[in-house]
Every structure is written in C-alpha cells, then in structure tokens.
C-alpha cells in the first residue's frame, strides 16, 4: 500500500467528508495595496447587499464571499446577457501578520473596502544601536 500511496498521493490523504459545493463562484475584480501600516483591499461586488456579504479569516486565508440579491423575475425574458448569476468568492492568503481585531470593512454601492492593519509585531521597527 505504501508504494501505491507514493504513486497516487490521494490514497494517503484521509477521506474527505462529502461536502460538495456545486454552486458556481467567480472571483470578483479587486485591488490590493500594501504599505507599512497594513493592506487596503477594494473588492467590486455589484449586486451584493450587506446582509449577503461574508468576510472570514481561517487558517491564514481571508475569504470574501458575496451573494447577489437580485433574481430575474419570472416574467422577464433575457434578450442579451453579459453578467453571470454566480456568487463572488475571493480568497487571499496571508502570513498571519494582520491584526484581525482591527479590520475595518465598508460596503457601499457594490464596492467593499477593507482596511487590514498589520499586527504590531509584523511592522517594521527601527532598532536603536548603542
């Protein structure tokens, strides 16, 4: 079995629970800027109201999930479409240098603005030399 496992690594992995997420997700357009104080993240989430927005941080992965609130009414016929119905999902990996308590999030007109201050320990410090 160990030889087989070395060829097919997935056999060595523990069985995953059958958690299947089949709904389509698209990565939203976003801007990320960094300075010495922290990160500034702007995510474009058209059609996502505040109550459908979720920002989570787990295992060094910051996830922004937004669900569109609007659904096409039954009587409407689509003549031409460029948008998708898929939900938005943006996953960013960080090195645990963010002060999670001080994250500031603001959603306005479909634009989410997140200010992620760096933790004190991660900021550059000048060391005095005697």
């Amino acid at each position: 079995m160990t030889f087989l496992q070395s060829i097919v690594p997935s056999l060595a992995r523990p069985a995953q629970p059958a958690k299947v997420e089949t709904d389509a997700r698209v990565r939203p357009a976003f801007n990320l800027r960094e300075d010495e104080h922290g990160y500034s993240l702007t995510v474009f989430l058209p059609g996502v109201p505040k109550e459908n927005l979720e920002v989570t941080d787990h295992d060094g992965l910051l996830t922004v999930t937004g669900r569109r609130a609007w659904a096409q009414p039954k009587e409407w016929t689509a003549l031409y479409r460029e948008t998708s119905r898929a939900h938005f999902e943006l996953v960013l990996r960080h090195e645990g240098d963010i002060d999670l308590e001080k994250i500031n999030a603001e959603l306005k007109d479909g634009r989410l603005h997140l200010l992620l201050p760096k933790a004190e320990a991660a900021r550059p410090r000048k060391i005095a030399i005697n």
Partner: protein, 149 residues
C-alpha cells in the same frame, strides 16, 4: 498577502461514490492547472468596460448594468435616436478618500424603437443600475380573438 489561487479540497464534481475516489487528486490537479492558467481571464474586466444585460417583459424593456463603486451622481443617462447611452465616472481614491484618478465609462445600447422615451426610469442599487424602458402601446403583445365560422 497573496492571492490563494487554489485551496485544496473544495469542489468535488466527481464525488466519491465509495468513500473516496482515487481520481480525486488527479481531478484537483487538473482544476489547479486550469485555475492558474485561466484564472485571470475568468476575472471580470472592470477598468473601462462594464457588463450590461437586456431583458424584456410584456410592458417594458429593461437594461441592467453593473457599475460597482459608482454613486448615483456619477451616472448619467441619455436617450438619443434609439440608443441609450450610460455614462459613468469611476473615481479611484486613495486611502484618505482623495480622488486620484477618474476613469470615464460609457456604453451605448441599441433600444427597440417601440419605447416611450420620456417615460424611462432608472434605479441604482448595490452598484447595479436598472433602467426601465416602457414599451409603446402598439408594441405590446395583443390578443386577437378570431371567430371561426
């Protein structure tokens, strides 16, 4: 901080029937390959273009445009010779809220003639603009009963 292009087991389209499938690893490897190769293509373009949808029902035509980050004041609409023009100014701000750049967006959409131009209304909510264009009476579907002799 980097974009996590791939998180290990998330979607399992070929869901394991008996506990787990030996193909699970292969499938996610293929997914990752596509995710890295096509990831940025799939992302919506937002700099100068914005997506528009057209709908109709029996009374109205509808135009829906995704304009996230704009405010009502940044958007103006014009109806000229059967074309609906959406103009918008996307203001790029720095962290202090100062406008550093203004990107002007515009798009013209051909609208069927059978629209009452002076009864057009528009709403803007959560970054999505919805324009309602009422159809003229003669363009609405009519039911005609024909007697068969």
């Amino acid at each position: 901080m980097t974009l996590a292009r791939y998180i290990h087991p998330r979607t399992t389209a070929l869901a394991p029937v008996f506990g787990r499938s030996p193909w699970l690893g292969l499938e996610s490897d293929i997914n990752r390959l596509f995710e890295t190769a096509l990831g940025d293509f799939a992302a919506p373009v937002f700099e100068h273009r914005f997506p528009v949808d057209l709908y109709e029902d029996k009374d109205n035509n509808y135009v829906r445009a995704e304009l996230p980050g704009l405010t009502r004041d940044d958007i103006s609409l014009e109806m000229v010779e059967g074309y609906l023009t959406i103009n918008g100014d996307r203001k790029v701000t720095d962290d202090d809220g100062k406008v550093v750049e203004t990107i002007s967006l515009n798009r013209s959409i051909a609208v069927p003639d059978a629209v009452v131009a002076d009864k057009i209304t528009a709403a803007f909510e959560h970054g999505v603009l919805t324009v309602t264009l009422p159809k003229r009476e003669e363009a609405k579907p009519k039911k005609i009963t024909i007697a068969v002799n």
